[in-house]
């Protein structure tokens, strides 16, 4: 792994009016790494992904993608940067008026000069990769939650991104489909060599897919370690989060 981070967040603060979501997040993500960000619901995990994509701007601090400040990018640079990033949404966010094929083909048609045949070949390749080649001509409304998630994943990687952001990829899925999604995350990361940031609070998935885990609590990263390091962490917040105990600092009002 090279030393230059793919993503670097320095002292990132974000507030919506009086409501402070992030209060000084520092995080470096190396190329090809699979970083899992753990945290309670509403702790600002998904917000982190939107900051990296430049959809939200930090009220203070710096968010860098490949050494370039995301919040200072103008629209055209930002759109060019976003083409290197694949985002997989919690509820898939497939465009409901387009078929599965058209959902996947959309960025290729709009942003590349590929021919229809080349686009169709790429769509088929990605659908095969996520095991959904039969769903090519279906509409999103005809698919189950797990199927939609896999299509969302295929759309996320259609442009062969250098960074893939996963927002709760296995939330709300049955354990088998959840394992399938986890396997896909690992496979895709290894196959296309992309850096991955996975936001989740599913502990099983986190330990399975992560090469490193960070824990977000009260707007800050309070722990960062390998999966084993996090599993054996002495930090009471991390320990309570992993064990799921109702007694502890998380529900008591903090460390």
């Amino acid at each position: 792994m090279s030393d230059a981070p793919a993503i670097e967040l320095r002292d990132v603060h974000l507030a919506f009016g009086e409501n402070e979501i992030l209060t000084g997040v520092d995080l470096r993500i190396a190329p090809r790494e699979r970083l899992v960000v753990l945290g309670q619901s509403g702790s600002g995990k998904s917000t982190l992904l939107r900051l990296i994509l430049g959809i939200l701007k930090p009220t203070r601090g710096s968010v860098q993608f490949q050494g370039r400040e995301v919040s200072k990018m103008r629209r055209r640079k930002l759109n060019a940067m976003r083409q290197k990033v694949g985002m997989v949404y919690q509820y898939s966010a497939l465009i409901s008026s387009l078929s599965v094929r058209d959902n996947l083909a959309l960025p290729l048609e709009e942003l590349t000069d590929k021919t229809r045949d080349e686009i169709d070949a790429l769509v088929d390749e990605k659908l095969t990769l996520v095991g959904m080649s039969d769903a090519r001509d279906k509409m999103p409304a005809e698919l189950s939650g797990g199927m939609r998630k896999r299509i969302g994943l295929a759309r996320g990687i259609i442009m062969d991104p250098e960074l893939i952001l996963y927002d709760e990829p296995s939330a709300g899925l049955d354990p088998v489909i959840s394992s399938v999604i986890d396997g896909l995350i690992i496979e895709l990361s290894e196959k296309i060599g992309a850096t991955s940031i996975i936001v989740t609070h599913e502990m099983g998935s986190a330990f399975k897919v992560a090469t490193r885990i960070a824990m977000l609590f009260r707007g800050r990263i309070i722990a960062e370690d390998t999966p084993d390091g996090i599993r054996n962490s002495a930090d009471p917040v991390v320990a309570q989060f992993i064990s799921g105990d109702t007694e502890g600092p998380i529900l008591e009002g903090g460390k």
């Binding site: 629209r75 759109n79 976003r82 083409q83 985002m87 966010a93 465009i95 409901s96 709009e110």
Partner: protein, 263 residues
């Protein structure tokens, strides 16, 4: 006493956001042109144009026909005692070409198309579809707003022509039956009194109303908050704001046109 300042501030904020939406949409289209690409998806534009244009013809034609017919009937009966029913054809023709055609079509399009745009974009916003389009670097305004805005902007004058013609048709039919005005006399009298500035005023208004309806509907749809209830609320607001703004701008246009040309 109610303090009007917060309302004025909120109105100005919305107004500046709508202008920002228009500017950003044009800029995103410009970005795409600079990359040597067509500024919007043609298929999407034709789909919207079909919906705004062909889809609205039955409603616009039917309502305008009835209004034209009623207008001719009521004014004709008022004018008949004075032997002035021959004024019915120019009255309906000028009234519709210059005023009622654009206004009635604006109200119908705001209710039919504006509501649909807001509900559609609002649902997409709530389902994170708009954000997903933004995250892919596609430019959601160019992709979603530009075909809709262009369709309603370009098709409004066509619908106004349909409205004018059907209203005059309705008026001609009732005039033939109630006041014994032959179709040919009706047509000649209507065309004789209609001046080019009435037609230009109607066309300018219809472009303007189309732009207002499209912008208000897209803005309300893209700023939806709060799930299904939010979509419902935004859709109602979109129709109310668009109709009120159309009527407001119509009044403003009339004041300007009358002071410039009719004195």
């Amino acid at each position: 006493m109610i303090n009007p300042l917060p309302y004025v501030r909120s109105m100005l904020q919305h107004l500046s956001s709508v202008v920002w939406l228009l500017v950003q949409t044009v800029q995103e289209m410009g970005d795409h042109i600079r990359r040597g690409r067509f500024p919007f998806r043609l298929a999407s534009f034709f789909e919207q144009a079909d919906r705004v244009g062909f889809g609205s013809i039955p409603l616009v034609a039917l309502v305008s026909f009835f209004i034209g017919l009623t207008m001719a009937l009521l004014t004709g009966y008022q004018l008949q005692p004075f032997g002035q029913e021959r004024l019915v054809p120019p009255l309906v023709a000028i009234g519709f070409t210059r005023e009622l055609g654009p206004l009635m079509t604006g109200i119908m399009v705001a209710a039919r198309i504006g509501a649909a745009y807001t509900a559609e974009l609002g649902t997409m916003t709530v389902a994170e579809e708009v954000e997903a389009i933004e995250a892919m670097g596609l430019g959601p305004l160019r992709f979603l707003v530009s075909p809709r805005l262009l369709a309603v902007f370009l098709l409004m004058p066509c619908l106004v022509v349909v409205s004018d013609l059907t209203a005059v048709g309705g008026a001609a039919m009732i005039s033939r039956w109630a006041f014994d005005i032959p179709f040919q006399s009706f047509a000649e009298s209507a065309v004789e009194k209609l001046v080019i500035r009435d037609i230009i005023a109607g066309v300018v208004k219809s472009f303007l109303f189309g732009l207002i309806i499209g912008l208000v509907a897209c803005y309300k749809g893209l700023t939806v908050r709060g799930g299904a209830a939010g979509v419902g609320h935004a859709t109602t607001e979109s129709v109310v704001v668009a109709i009120t703004t159309v009527i407001g701008f119509d009044t403003l246009c009339n004041l300007v046109l009358v002071s410039l040309f009719d004195k």
